[in-house]
């Protein structure tokens, strides 16, 4: 380098670039913001839909699991009783799972180990011998012994999708050996959007929080890595002692089984399933449920009308907004049309925007308002009042054979109450038909409503032939894949048991056959 004053001169010149730079154009900034807000609404809705509706089974994974189990290579995760945990501690001090594998597997992180040779996790390794003798070779065969271990096979049994493989490879390329400490987190990936999530392993235990993600541009195939620095203070430092004092996994499974509920799952032809609660986690030390931030789910009665709205053009859309919903839209709506939906959008003065959405056949899907719409309502003072307002609006368009809805989610934040309702058919939730309603607390206005209003009624099979809840719980205790994770809540990380998510679908069993649905 040259003399220091030369360097200073250059740096000084570089600083002047700041004064030269053109400021952003306000109009573009505003357009960008509006576009982003629209995108946010779409993302949010897609996530909600994906989360609730993605329950269709992945038969292939189940078949492979069966093949793998029958090949005798399964290493059921050891019961982390004190003695076994101590043994694991002596062996590994809770080394990352990858380091606890066979040499050839050890080259790969647990999530990329070949599926033909599933990786053995540290927990599995700790008691693999005893576990092997307990594992049924035919998973489909019902086993009466309720004390048998819950299924705790490793993630390696999952076959990675091509996109996951690419993302994994990219992560390895970018992080080198460090990538061995990450595993794919299918429960939080959004593969259709090219988003593969990873979670970090600390002493072999996953941190159930965002650690890294690889984004693959669906158009160009370009990849980028989002890597979030993780504050590991307090996580895993006392892993050995923490893990030696965890409760018996069967007890945890029994507690988690209490979250099972009978539901109709599926969109086209809903089927009866006993579904686990993906929100439910058990404190691995105390065995108690951790508080669910969404509160208890409640049932609310509703008098539905089953009215169907068909919107075929912009004029009809305007008429529906004004007459049906009393929303004074003005100006010509512009339309956006994609493969499955048509949106009519009115952008009005004072940055107000109204949007009406239909399915491709014109069936009403929902509307949303942004900005201040004075519709003559009164301020609401409680969440219950907002819920009443939401149900009044919803009732008119829900299928006529729905008499109750489950309040899946009710939140009040920043002057707005938002609800997710699921209809009950003969007392059983139809989970793939969620209805979202937002209410402005200040004006009592229903600012958004969205759901599938294309059905005049539900005609679903009776649940008389479903197995009992006790039988379902028994199956759950035997088969549900539990895992220990660190949950980083507002305070210190907590070691919890949860049902492992191998996809975005909650774990479930067919309520008629008792078999696991994958």
């Amino acid at each position: 380098m040259g003399l220091p004053d030369e360097e200073d001169q250059l740096i000084s010149k570089l600083r002047q670039i700041k004064q030269e730079a053109k400021p952003p154009r306000p109009e573009w900034k505003q357009i960008g913001k509006e576009r982003l807000i629209r995108q946010a609404r779409t993302v949010r809705w897609k996530r909600r839909i994906t989360h609730v509706s993605a329950y269709v089974g992945t038969i292939g994974a189940a078949a492979l699991m069966g093949i793998w189990l029958s090949s005798g290579q399964v290493a059921e995760q050891a019961n982390l009783s004190e003695s076994q945990a101590s043994s694991a501690q002596e062996k590994s001090e809770f080394l990352p799972a990858a380091l606890y594998q066979e040499p050839e597997l050890g080259k790969l992180p647990p999530s990329v180990a070949p599926t033909e040779q599933p990786a053995v996790s540290h927990e599995a390794a700790a008691g693999a011998e005893s576990a092997r003798s307990n594992v049924p070779t035919d998973q489909a065969e019902p086993v009466a012994n309720v004390d048998s271990e819950p299924q705790t096979t490793t993630r390696a049994e999952r076959i990675m999708t091509p996109l996951e493989k690419r993302a994994q490879h990219f992560l390895q390329e970018k992080l080198g050996e460090e990538s061995n400490y990450y595993e794919i987190d299918p429960g939080h990936s959004r593969e259709t959007e090219g988003y593969i999530a990873f979670r970090k392993l600390v002493h072999g235990i996953p941190l159930q929080q965002h650690s890294a993600a690889v984004e693959v541009n669906p158009h160009t195939g370009k990849m980028s890595l989002l890597l979030y620095p993780i504050e590991e203070n307090g996580v895993g430092t006392t892993a050995s002692s923490e893990q030696s004092s965890v409760i018996d996994k069967t007890k945890a499974a029994q507690e988690l089984a209490s979250g099972l509920r009978l539901v109709y799952a599926g969109k086209e032809r809903p089927v009866l399933q006993y579904m686990s609660d993906p929100q439910l986690v058990i404190d691995a030390k105390t065995g108690k449920r951790l508080a669910n931030s969404q509160g208890e789910k409640r049932v609310a009665p509703i008098k539905t009308e089953g009215k169907r709205l068909i919107i075929t053009d912009a004029d009809k859309a305007e008429a529906v907004m004004k007459k049906e919903f009393g929303i004074p839209v003005s100006g010509k709506a512009f339309m956006t049309i994609d493969e499955k939906a048509i949106s009519f959008i009115w952008q009005m003065s004072d940055k107000r925007e109204a949007r009406l959405k239909t399915a491709d056949d014109g069936s009403f899907v929902g509307y949303s308002l942004d900005g201040s719409f004075e519709l003559g309502g009164k301020p609401l003072s409680s969440l219950q009042q907002a819920q009443d307002a939401a149900l009044v609006r919803l009732a008119k368009y829900l299928p006529s054979d729905v008499e109750e809805v489950l309040v899946e989610k009710a939140l009040q934040e920043r002057g707005q109450a938002t609800f997710t309702f699921v209809p009950l058919y003969q007392g059983v939730p139809v989970v793939d038909y969620p209805y979202f309603v937002a209410v402005d607390m200040g004006s009592g206005t229903v600012t958004a409503i969205q759901g599938d209003f294309s059905r005049g009624s539900f005609a679903l099979p009776s649940h008389d032939n479903a197995i009992s809840l006790d039988e379902a719980k028994e199956q759950f205790v035997k088969k549900a894949p539990l895992e220990l994770v660190y949950l980083n809540s507002q305070s210190d990380p907590v070691l919890v048991y949860q049902v492992r998510l191998d996809s975005r679908k909650p774990w479930a069993i067919d309520a008629l056959t008792g078999k696991t649905t994958d």
Partner: protein, 189 residues
């Protein structure tokens, strides 16, 4: 709500409002970073949009452990590098690029000397490898500390120092090739 959100994400709800607030708070920071990087207002605006769009996808998982500014800059870095790669190929076949290459030889009037000087510095900056360019922008234009730059780029502070050294050295060489005489030559000597 996902398990992650259950973990207490402060940004788990009301995505549109949240992204809107973040956009207002950090738009300029990201825009200026990208305008220094691309030296083109239109590109910077498009790329800024891309940054917030990418942020939006990951926002529901944001749990506040990383400062939002740091997170945004780390996304902006990727976006900038992606853009660089794309442009690298486009330039090979672009007439405009040839025109730009030619016009830089035009000599300025004396009163425009300062502007010309700045033009050459900007041009030299554009010729730096993207990783070095990003370090220069953050350290010397945005005037972040070594520590802050390291944090944004997720690299050790020592690497920031080394990259700064290399970048300045390269800039001096580039400026030395660009012009003879004047302040620039003084700097580049």
């Amino acid at each position: 709500m996902s398990v992650l959100e259950r973990g207490g994400s402060p940004l788990s709800d009301d995505l549109a409002k949240q992204i809107s607030e973040i956009y207002e708070a950090y738009y300029n920071d990201i825009y200026y970073f990208l305008v220094y990087f691309t030296d083109k207002q239109e590109d910077a605006e498009d790329l800024t949009q891309e940054v917030f769009s990418r942020l939006l996808k990951a926002l529901p998982q944001y749990d506040g452990r990383v400062a939002m500014r740091t997170w945004l800059f780390s996304i902006a870095k990727h976006v900038a590098i992606d853009h660089y790669r794309k442009m690298k190929w486009q330039r090979l076949f672009s007439d405009n690029w040839l025109i730009r290459m030619m016009t830089k030889e035009g000599l300025p009037e004396p009163e425009l000397e300062m502007k010309e000087e700045m033009r050459l510095i900007k041009e030299a900056l554009q010729k730096l490898k993207p990783q070095l360019r990003i370090v220069v922008i953050l350290r010397y234009i945005e005037e972040y500390s070594v520590k802050e730059t390291a944090e944004i780029l997720s690299i050790p502070e020592t690497k920031v120092r080394v990259d700064c050294h290399r970048a300045l050295q390269t800039l001096r060489k580039l400026l030395g090739q660009s012009i003879e005489g004047g302040i620039i030559n003084g700097i580049a000597r």
